[in-house]
Symmetry: C2
Subunit: 301 residues, 2 copies
């Protein structure tokens, strides 16, 4: 995969097709009782999105020489957890958002109570999937327990939920850079790290490879969030699917707000370099991971 | 264990002491960041309760000849899921309850947003616990995956969350007995069934034993809920820790409302018999399970 974007776009197109198909297949059918609940879950999971976590998981699996398709059930589990977190974050008691990816948020369509339960259902379903004996063949039971533990730890109060809590606590108050990094590395970074690590494990990562993937993941996860912060300032509403500048309006702390736009871009660029360097132990199999890291930065320009 | 209650009370006292100690130990400390979130989680989990699911899990483990203490981490995981479900059920968008076990509900103390995240955190933490490699020694990795799958399936949209959804959908509307049984077997029965099955697996249940425990669990779980419904009508507010007759006031469907008090008691008695009969394959080790089934019925008189 070279540096021009079209090859990455073609790669992403192939991976996205696999991921969308798998999500549709692994989500409970809309006709299963309670049907309205399953419809609400499907509304949020199958309603588009960049699928950055599943894509990274498949790419990490391939980077260590595995078949990305083997990671699809786990990729769906991670995406379900991501979708649940968005549903709960959008609730009136939390961020009170009406729009997500250009569509009404889950509670706007199905009501608050169903949205809460849809989130709960998605979080639980992720662990149903990861523990199913007919999925992830070739992955040992011990490795599957490691995968479940990784995902639960990074999704829980020491990871994503913890980041969301601190983000909420500081809203409207001035915060320092360490607190902002805590929020980003936990709220979004943790699940990205878990996705990449899990992809590697499914692909059969050796200790040195796993270490490299973890360093890549930490850097690319934070860079991704900084780029998102930058985009919130610079992009137009129709590109975002939500009102641009909404973080700013809400008094949410962001990298551009704290460091200025230029220094925020510089920080993203540094992290991108760290991410690319971490991949030196890999050969051509890691080209997608490299291209994704570059893409994360470029889209914030 | 004979038929008089004092021996059961002594047994329950011993088990409860073990369970409370384990919960305190396995819950994230209140000083770990984000501390307010962990405090909110501990408030609900360590705030008392009958611990019926953990007690049944330990008793099921012992019924098949296992050491009940080996089931403690899994018992705590089930109790965390039970506690999360209560926190979310009590939210203003759901049942909007101010009191639980005689204390203000989680969102009344910590606010709605924190209560939502505390529930999310508890649900996730249950799977952290079950997948930890240092816990449940002696249980094979394959059996641990079975345990995780059982718990996730029974806690999710095909189990507890599904029951809560249907319960919400029918509120204030007249419903029939099959719908009421769907709600009860899912909303409360599913987690009780999972707890008993998991206890048996940790104790090393053979297929015939597992089958017997599953039949016991289905009967005792429903009997427990009918007894709860009856108590809501007959008991005083101070005994319940919530306003008595509150289900009735809310227009919630209950067994006494649908069948009348006498027929509801008769149904509970029948289920009790089914539960006791299911235990015929066991010897004296199942006395606590037998005594608990009897106790469930007796307290509703």
């Amino acid at each position: 995969m070279d540096n021009n974007g079209s090859e990455l776009q073609a790669y992403l197109g192939r991976q996205l097709a696999l991921i969308e198909e798998a999500l549709d297949c692994f989500m409970p059918a809309a006709t299963i009782r309670p049907d309205r609940l399953h419809q609400a879950m499907r509304y949020s999971v199958l309603g588009g999105g960049k699928r950055i976590r599943p894509v990274l998981m498949l790419a990490a699996c391939e980077a260590v020489g595995g078949d990305g398709r083997h990671a699809l059930p786990a990729a769906c589990a991670v995406e379900m957890i991501h979708a649940y977190s968005l549903i709960h974050d959008d609730l009136p008691a939390m961020d009170n958002d009406d729009l997500r990816r250009g569509r009404p948020t889950n509670h706007k369509v199905y009501g608050e109570a169903t949205a809460i339960l849809a989130g709960d259902g998605l979080l639980t379903e992720a662990f149903v999937l990861l523990s199913r004996s007919d999925l992830l063949p070739g992955v040992s039971a011990a490795d599957r327990l490691t995968i479940i533990n990784l995902l639960a730890t990074h999704a829980g109060t020491r990871g994503m939920v913890g980041g969301q809590m601190v983000d909420m606590e500081v809203e409207g108050r001035p915060i320092d850079l360490p607190t902002l990094e805590y929020i980003h590395t936990h709220k979004t970074g943790a699940l990205i790290k878990a996705a990449i690590d899990i992809g590697g494990i499914i692909g059969g990562s050796q200790p040195e490879q796993r270490d490299a993937l973890q360093r890549y993941a930490a850097a690319v996860g934070l860079a991704f969030q900084i780029a998102d912060d930058i985009l919130d300032v610079t992009a137009k509403t129709e590109e975002l699917g939500k009102p641009s500048g909404s973080d700013l309006q809400r008094g949410k702390a962001t990298y551009p707000a704290l460091l200025g736009l230029n220094q925020a871009r510089e920080r993203a660029r540094e992290l991108n370099e760290v991410a690319i360097n971490a991949l030196q132990v890999f050969g051509l199999e890691a080209q997608p991971l490299r291209a994704i890291a570059r893409y994360v930065i470029e889209r914030s320009y």
